[in-house]
Subunit: 354 residues, 2 copies
C-alpha cells in the first residue's frame, strides 16, 4: 500500500482539515487535450481506448502531467456494465452511445446476467491496477460507475433520449419489472465498484446523469433507492484505508436533503445549484463537490478566476468542499482555461482553510 | 366584452374560490391530435400554419371540441419575435427551429429593431382577435411569448442547443452586450404581449424554456431580471378586466422564491418540482400551475388517474392551483389518455375546494 503524497481530496471528502480546497474535473481525461486526441486516433475508436488497459492508463494520467489536480479518475465509459451484460455497446458519430440489443420485455430483463467484474470487466480492473501503480501515490484514484437508474435509461431506450418515453412507460406501467431491472443493476454496480476498490480505486463516484429527469417521488423510488442499495453493498474500507463515496445526480438540486441521507460521504452538485445554499441545507451531513458551469471555461481567464472565487466564497470557511465543474468539461475548451481554473483554486482557496 | 361562461382558470390564477381545479395543457393544440395533423398538412408547413390567422384559430379551437379544458391558448411559436426582427426563422425536420441570420456580434445587436406587433406580427394579433371571437366566451384565451432569455438563446445559438456555448460565452465575456440584447427583447416581448391583450388575450404566459440551464446567480441577472422588466411593462387591466400573468421557467424549481417576487400572479412548475413543497415555499404569494410529467400520458388511464390524484393531493385544499403538464404534451400521445387526465381532474378535484 503506497501512502498518498497528496491526500487532500480524500480528507476533504471526510471533511477533515486541509490546507486548500482540492480540485479535479469531470471528464478531465478527454477530447479537449491534444495528447488525448492523438491516443484516441491511434486506438481507432473510443471503445478500443476504454478496453485497452495500457491506453486507458495513459489517458488517465495525461491531465495530471499538465494540471495540479488532486485526484485521477479512471478513464472509462459509464455503460461498461450493460455492455458486459450482453447489450452490445457501440458509438455513432454525433449520436452518442447505442445498444445493439436494448431491453424490450420481461424476458430480456429476466435473462440479464449479473456480470463478474473480474471476468467480464477485466479490462477495467486491469486498468485500475495499472493506473494505481503508475500514479505512485501522487494523488488518489477515483473509480466510478453509472447509477442503476441511468444505466437502465440507456438499456431500455437503446441509447440517449430526450423525453425518456420508453423507460418511463415501463416505470409507470410495469413498476415491478422496472424494480427487477434496477435491482439487478444495483447488484452489478456494487460488485463492479467493489472490484475497482480491490484493484486500487481509493474513492468511488456514482454518476446519476438522468435522475434529474424524474419527478421527486419517482426519483426517490427508482433512482435514489438503488443508489442507496449500491452504497449498502459497497466496501467501506480496503487495506486499512477508508474508501469515500460520492453521489452525483445531474438536476438533483431539489432533492439534496434525501440524497444526503443515502449514505454517501459527498454529493456532486450541478452548476444550477448554489453551493452555499446547498451547504446550508446538507453540509452537516456530507461534503460537496462542484460546481462551476462547464461553459464558464469558454470565458476569459480573468472571468474564470472571478467565477472560481464566487464558488469558493459561496461555500465559505472550512473543509468539505471539492472544487469541480458542475458537469463534464466540453470537448473544445482551451486547456489554458483549465489551467486558469486550477490556478485560481490553488491561489484563492487557502484563505478558506485558515 | 363577452363575459366568460367559464372563468375558473382566471379565478384560480387570482386564488379566488372555484368549484374545482381548472385544467389545460401546454401544447394542447398539436400533433397528438389527428385533426391537427390534417390542418398542418394542408398548410404545408408549421410556419404557414402559425402565420395564417384562420388556420391558427382552427387548431387553437380543436382541443376544446374534444376535451373540457378551462382555457384556450393561442396557437403560435415562441420564436415569432426574433423572426419579426429579421432573423429568418425556419424549421428543419428533426432539428427544430433555426435562424438564417443569427446574432454574431455587437453590430447585429445594435441593429436589431423592436418590432411593432400590429405591423410585424399582425398575423398573431389577427389570430388572437379571431380566436377570441370564435370562443364566444366559452373559456378564456391565453396569449404567450418566449422569455427574453429564451429568445436570446435561439438568436445567438442560431437554433436549439445542448450546451449553450455561444450564448453563455457572450454572457460571460460581454455582459454589457448581453444586457443590451435582453433589454431590447424585454421591450419587444412586453409590447407583443400587450398587443395580444388588446386583441383579446385574457391571460398571458411567459415561457422561459431555457432559464434552467443557468446558475442561480446568472438566472437572476440574465433571465429573471428581464421577466420582471416584461411584467412591469405589461397592461394589468383591459376593458375593465384584470389580466393575470404566468411565469414558467423549465428547470427553475430551485428558484421559486425569487420567481414569486417577480410580480407574476402564477408560476408554472415543471414535473421535477413537488407541487406541495412549492406551495409551502411560495403559495402565499402566487398561484401554481402544473405539473404532471408529460411522459405520464403514455401510462394506462388508471395510472394517469392515480398520478392526477397525487398532484391534487400534494397541492391540497383551496384555490390557486391550475392543473397542467410540467411541459408540453409529446407528439404521439393517445388522445384518450388526455381525456383520462382531464376527466380525473374534473372528478377528483372538487373535494379540494369544498
Amino acid at each position: 500500500m503506497t501512502s498518498l503524497k497528496n491526500d487532500i481530496f480524500i480528507k476533504a471528502l471526510f471533511k477533515q482539515p486541509v490546507p486548500r480546497t482540492p480540485v479535479w474535473m469531470m471528464r478531465q481525461a478527454g477530447r479537449y487535450l491534444p495528447e488525448y486526441r492523438k491516443i484516441r486516433e491511434q486506438a481507432g475508436s473510443f471503445l478500443a481506448l476504454c478496453t485497452n488497459p495500457e491506453l486507458a492508463c495513459e489517458v488517465t494520467l495525461q491531465p495530471l502531467r499538465r494540471f495540479s489536480f488532486d485526484a485521477a479518475i479512471l478513464f472509462s465509459d459509464i455503460l461498461t456494465i450493460p455492455d458486459a451484460m450482453g447489450l452490445g455497446l457501440y458509438f455513432t458519430e454525433g449520436e452518442g452511445p447505442k445498444f445493439k440489443n436494448p431491453i424490450k420485455n420481461a424476458a430480456d430483463i429476466a435473462a440479464l446476467p449479473i456480470p463478474d467484474p473480474y471476468v467480464d470487466l477485466r479490462y477495467v480492473t486491469d486498468a485500475v491496477s495499472l493506473i494505481r501503480k503508475n500514479l505512485q501515490g501522487a494523488v488518489p484514484l477515483i473509480g466510478f460507475s453509472g447509477s442503476p437508474w441511468t444505466l437502465a435509461t440507456y438499456m431500455v431506450e437503446g441509447g440517449s433520449s430526450k423525453s425518456f418515453q420508453k423507460i418511463k412507460s415501463l416505470m409507470y406501467n410495469e413498476p415491478r419489472l422496472m424494480h427487477q431491472l434496477l435491482d439487478k443493476l444495483a447488484q452489478s454496480v456494487a460488485s463492479y465498484l467493489n472490484a475497482q476498490i480491490e484493484a486500487g480505486a481509493q474513492a468511488v463516484m456514482l454518476f446519476d446523469t438522468w435522475g434529474g429527469m424524474l419527478s421527486g417521488e419517482d426519483y426517490a423510488m427508482f433512482s435514489l433507492a438503488y443508489a442507496k442499495q449500491v452504497r449498502q453493498l459497497l466496501k467501506t474500507e480496503h487495506n486499512g484505508q477508508k474508501i469515500p463515496t460520492i453521489l452525483f445526480t445531474k438536476g438533483g438540486g431539489l432533492w439534496l436533503e434525501t440524497m444526503a441521507d443515502a449514505g454517501y460521504d459527498a454529493l456532486g452538485l450541478d452548476w444550477q445549484t448554489n453551493i452555499g445554499a446547498a451547504r446550508a441545507r446538507v453540509g452537516e451531513k456530507v461534503a460537496l463537490q462542484g460546481n462551476l458551469d462547464p461553459v464558464s471555461l469558454y470565458a476569459q481567464p480573468a472571468i474564470i478566476k472571478e467565477k472560481v472565487q464566487a464558488i469558493l466564497h459561496s461555500y465559505g470557511q472550512g473543509s468539505g468542499h471539492i472544487f469541480n465543474l458542475g458537469h463534464g468539461i466540453l470537448p473544445d475548451v482551451n486547456p489554458d482555461h483549465v489551467k486558469a481554473m486550477v490556478d485560481a483554486v490553488h491561489e484563492l482557496s487557502p484563505v478558506y482553510h485558515s
